[in-house]
Each structure stands twice: as structure tokens, then as C-alpha cells.
Symmetry: C2
Subunit: 352 residues, 2 copies
């Protein structure tokens, strides 16, 4: 995924933020009225299927064959458990990223929460635009405005304080269109895939463009992925002893952008092993799939394609927010599996 | 530990490199003739003791009581397994760092190995000094010279190529004074401590000033710590597709220095959980112990003090290479345990 929830001014993010602004003006391809459509409960006969939310078809088959191959000790493609590393994008691959990435919605909400301490924001852009819900004015504030919003809302506090803010926000807020907590806007088939991999000796990691400290507070509970297996973008922090107690203070400077070419770089730096399975959904994941799912030995590359405008969102051929051309073009020659949310998944969300 | 095996020019390293140069001129406090002195084999009665190489005493007692407390589900200090994180320094805490840190010896050896491709080095400092074993000339080349040596030997290749170089070097070389492979110059009591913690549900991490890609090739085999649980200093890498194959190329620029204030910063960035146990041996570990072993709840801070000039090296009060004043001064008020290698360990190395 692209690191749309900007952590810091950075040239590489200009295009992404521009697209985000376009979306702020209302470009979601999915009408809110279709937000929640429950599917029938799964028949009991599927209860033992670890990938029950996956319809039979080439995508499910590719997963099953890959896992069978790398775990078959007498086979040609056997991989020892220690080397069974899977890296998975977050936004758009594990949870919903429309109409805006969750971390950007968090930043906008934080402006509202902090407003009482900043009376000057009532007459200062881009904050005035956020407080008044003036999307046109917010868009007019441009990349600089969005960056200012993200920066103000993400730095200055300790890492412990930031974690508490994230936890509280996730507990108190719901997705504006799906009308359920953000942590329930996760894809049930992907939860099953992660669990299935772990049951087969894999270590599952997130490799996201999103902020690592925004994800870590919920990844263990929601995805079964502990904080130490989350790789993401991050800002600088500074160690201090305050009244005899150690703290890390979040500073207004980017440390690492885990997106595009940064994803394999981040995977090597933070994990130190090359994955043999990599899952993403957009062009920001291309290099991660090249690193994890191209090369010697048996590998699995999987791309979640958002083609279900009824149950989720339709941007199968990209959107103003998200480009997918490069990764979809690469899929065929590389032998990666493109997952149709519409056809390959009989359930989208856990609560269905 | 200090990040003495410099990865890149950096002001913070000047003092360290200065000390390293002093040591290059011959300041080791341990005569080579005392290199290997075998101890009697352990009596069979100790076979079941998971900390058999630790003598009974306050250090061993502190470890046993800490582990008993945090694993006692009905006790006041219980810590769930997921939060049992221990971070351990490498140089001087898990393996020998005298007379020079292993990674610096590696860099010097690499100059010799690469010399045939660099005929100009025969008459160019600091390389000429390395090739001729001229310690005085090497010291005269200063910080800049050492940095040049480290840079030339650590960058330009892919991450896979560098790993192969490290693996081959470790297999082919022995410690100049202890006369055994570097990976056998590790402290048996610390191996036992790591295994004991893991047997009690801990996840053990290395947090070292050394280069992370220098350590990862051997940490799993030697310490039982997999690559993804090694935090260290690192340089920038660049992702490329070469002839359809993905590579990461090591670039001549520092990415992160995991030393002093950088240790808690790195622990939070790479692990994302605060440790409850932290072990080090010098002032470069002070902030890591403050982060992991100061605060609410039961914590264990442990400092390996090198006071055994007979079996290892004596720099109990610091050396030109290593300062220990700050961490030893902090130990008492913080309640950290100072381990005397001489008195608390009945074995130093696995081969004894």
C-alpha cells in the first residue's frame, strides 16, 4: 500500500497526497447505502476448512498447493519452518482503505479532539477546514496542509501516550460508511490465510506503508501478529529520562518510509530474512512481491483485487487514491495470484 | 556496547574510534599466553541446573528470582508470555570484544583479502598500513582511516553477497589470542541464561551497536536467536532488479546507529515492545538498561563485568577501548545486578 497517511514532509509522497485530496472531495466508488450486506452463515460442512471464506477456485488452490509443497519434507520444494516468512501489506490487503486510509481519518479526528487547546485553529487553515468539514478548503490547502495535519497529530507525545491515543480512538470510532469499528473492517479470508500459514509453521509479518506505531496497538488482537512482527513507516524518536522514568518522544522527522522500493529494504532491515510469500493490493506492493515472490524455490505472490463494489469497494483498475496497473501487469509473467474479492471470497468481513 | 566497528562516518563515533586506534597500538590488558585455560568438567550433579555455569551467589539468585516472579501466574509480578521480552548486547556481553571488536578484525582481514584487486593499496594509506601490519601508521591514519577501511569492506555488494563473505570469514578464522573460532568465543553462562529465559516463555533479542548484517548470519546457530530478533546498526540499502532477479545493494551511508540513546530508540522501532530484562556490559548499554530495567513491574538489569584477566580480559574499571563508569555508577541505585566474570561464572567458554 502507499503510505498515504503521511508521517512527515517527503517529496515521494506528493502524488499520493494529491490523490488523497482528490478523494477528500468525494471520489469513492461505493455508495454508502450499500455499506453492510450480510451474507448467509457458513454451512456447518465448511467448519473444518481453514480457508472457509475462500471459494474453491484458482486462488484458493494456489494457496493450498504452495503450503503443501513447502511443508512436504520429502518434496523438492521443502522449506524449513525457520525460513517460512510471509509478509503482508495492511491497508487494502488486511483491512479497508476506502474512502480514505484509516490513519488519515484518525489524523482528521485528532484535529477535532485537539481543537479546544488550539483556539487559533478556528481561523487557521488547514485546521479550520477540518473543523468545519470543508472538504474544498481542505483540498485547497494541498499537500502542505495534509502534512501539517498529520504532523501535528502524530508527534510531540511519548510513544506510550501515542499508543493510548490510538487504542482509545479505535475503541471509540466506527468506519464512516461500513458503520462498524475499524478493527472489524478487516478481511475474514485474509485472517484465515494468516492463521493457516501460522498453523503450517510460518511466521507472519506485516509490511505496510502505514505508521508502525499506529498499527502495533491492534495487530496482535486483530490479526494475531505481535508488535515485533510489524514493519511500517516511522518517525524519529528521542530517548529521555523524565523524573527518573524513561520515555521516547515522537519527533517531527521521518525515519523510514516503508513503501515501494522501501518495502524490500524495510523487510531486510527489520526482519533480515527474505520472505517466500508476499501479499499486497496495489503498486506500492510491487517491489515487496518482487523481493518475496520472485526467485529460486517455491514462492507465493498474491494480490487482493478490489472488484466488489457491493460488499466492499470497486477499484479493480485503480482509483484516484490507488494505482494497481504495475502490479497487475507484473502478476501474469511472475506467476502471482490475483484474488477477486467478488469471486474468490464468500465472506468479506468477520461479522458477516 | 559501543558501535566500534564503524559503518559510516559519524561524529558520535569519533571518541570510540579514537579509543580503537589506541588499542590497535597494543593496550590489551590480557597477555596472550593466558589465552586458553580449561576448567574442570562440571560435576554430574549440576547437569540439571539450567544455569550450571553460574556459581551460587547474588547474580544467579537475582536471575532465578526474577524468572520465578514474572512466571508465577498467581503472583503480583506475573507477566504474560507475550510481554516477556529480553534484549541483550552482543560485543562484550555475549562474545569477546577484546583486543578489538570482531567486526573491526573482520574489516582489517577483508582489506587483505581484497588487496589483489587493489594494487594501489600497496602505497596508499590506510590500506598500506593494514597490509604491512603497521599499527603505528594505521593509528596515524586516524578516525578517517578506520572509517575508510570499514566502508570499503562493508559496502558495494548485495546483502546476499555480504552474508556469504561473513559466513566464510567466520568459518575460516580464529580469534588472534584465544585461538578458537570467533563463534566459540561466546560466554557459556550467557548462552545458558538465554536458553533459560526462552524455556520460561521469553523472546530473546540482541540489541547491539554492531552491524546487524554482520551478526544475523550466526546468531541463530550460536545464540539460538533468529535473524528477525537481531537489532543492530545498519547502512542504507537499495532495491534493484538485476536480470530479472531482485537484489538489495549495500550503500555507503549510515541508516541507523544502535548505540547509547539509540538502543532504546532501536528497540522500540524494531521490536515495538519495551523489554522487562536488559543485559549489557558498558556505557553504550546504559540507556538500554534504563529503558528495559527501570520502571513499573518486575525487571532485570544485568551488567557483565570483565574482571577476569586470567580466563578472559580484565577491564573491570574500563579501558581505552571501553568505558563502564556510567553504567556501573547507575547499577546500585537502579538495582541492577553486576556480574563478576571471575566470581560468578565457573565456566567462560563452551569448550571449557
Amino acid at each position: 500500500m502507499k503510505a498515504r497517511s503521511a508521517l512527515c514532509p517527503l517529496p515521494a509522497r506528493i502524488a499520493v497526497l494529491g490523490l488523497t485530496l482528490a478523494v477528500l472531495c468525494g471520489c469513492a466508488s461505493r455508495p454508502p447505502s450499500q455499506a453492510v450486506e450480510a451474507l448467509p452463515a457458513r454451512p456447518a460442512s465448511q467448519a473444518v476448512d481453514p480457508l472457509a471464506s475462500w471459494n474453491d477456485g484458482p486462488a484458493k488452490q494456489a494457496i493450498l498447493e504452495f503450503v503443501a509443497d513447502v511443508t512436504n519434507e520429502s518434496g523438492a520444494h521443502y522449506v524449513p519452518p525457520a525460513e517460512r516468512i510471509a509478509t503482508v501489506d495492511n491497508d487494502g490487503t488486511l483491512w479497508v482503505e476506502s474512502p480514505l486510509p484509516t490513519q488519515l481519518l484518525f489524523a482528521l479526528d485528532r484535529v477535532k479532539a485537539l481543537a479546544p487547546s488550539h483556539p487559533e485553529w478556528k481561523t487557521t487553515q488547514p485546521f479550520q477546514a477540518v473543523l468545519e468539514g470543508d472538504h474544498a478548503a481542505l483540498a485547497a490547502s494541498g499537500k502542505k496542509g495534509i502534512e501539517e495535519i498529520v504532523m501535528v497529530t502524530h508527534v510531540g507525545m511519548t510513544t506510550d501516550e501515542f499508543e493510548r491515543i490510538v487504542v482509545d480512538w479505535l475503541a471509540a470510532n466506527k468506519h464512516p460508511e461500513l458503520k462498524r469499528p475499524y478493527t472489524e473492517c478487516v478481511y475474514q479470508p485474509m485472517l484465515e490465510l494468516l492463521a493457516y500459514l501460522r498453523a503450517n509453521g510460518f511466521k507472519t509479518f506485516i509490511a505496510s506503508g502505514g505508521g508502525v506505531e499506529f498499527m502495533r496497538p491492534f495487530t496482535e488482537r486483530v490479526y494475531g501478529i505481535p508488535p515485533e512482527q510489524v514493519v511500517g513507516s516511522s518517525i524519529e524518536t528521542k530517548f529521555e529520562m523524565r523524573d527518573g522514568k524513561p520515555v521516547l518522544v515522537r519527533e517531527p522527522k521521518l525515519f523510514f518510509l516503508n513503501d515501494k522500493e522501501g518495502k524490500p529494504v524495510g523487510i531486510q532491515k527489520f526482519i533480515g530474512r527474505r520472505p517466500i510469500a508476499a501479499f499486497g493490493n496495489s503498486d506500492g506492493d510491487l517491489q515487496m512481491l518482487q523481493w518475496g515472490a520472485v526467485g529460486d524455490g517455491r514462492r507465493l505472490g498474491l494480490i487482493v483485487n478490489h472488484d466488489d463494489g457491493t460488499r466492499e469497494y470497486d477499484y479493480a483498475h485503480g482509483s484516484k487514491l490507488q494505482s494497481v496497473d504495475k502490479i497487475l501487469d507484473a502478476a501474469g509473467p511472475a506467476g502471482w495470484t490475483v484474488v477477486s474479492m467478488k469471486n474468490d471470497w464468500n465472506r468479506i468481513f468477520p461479522s458477516e
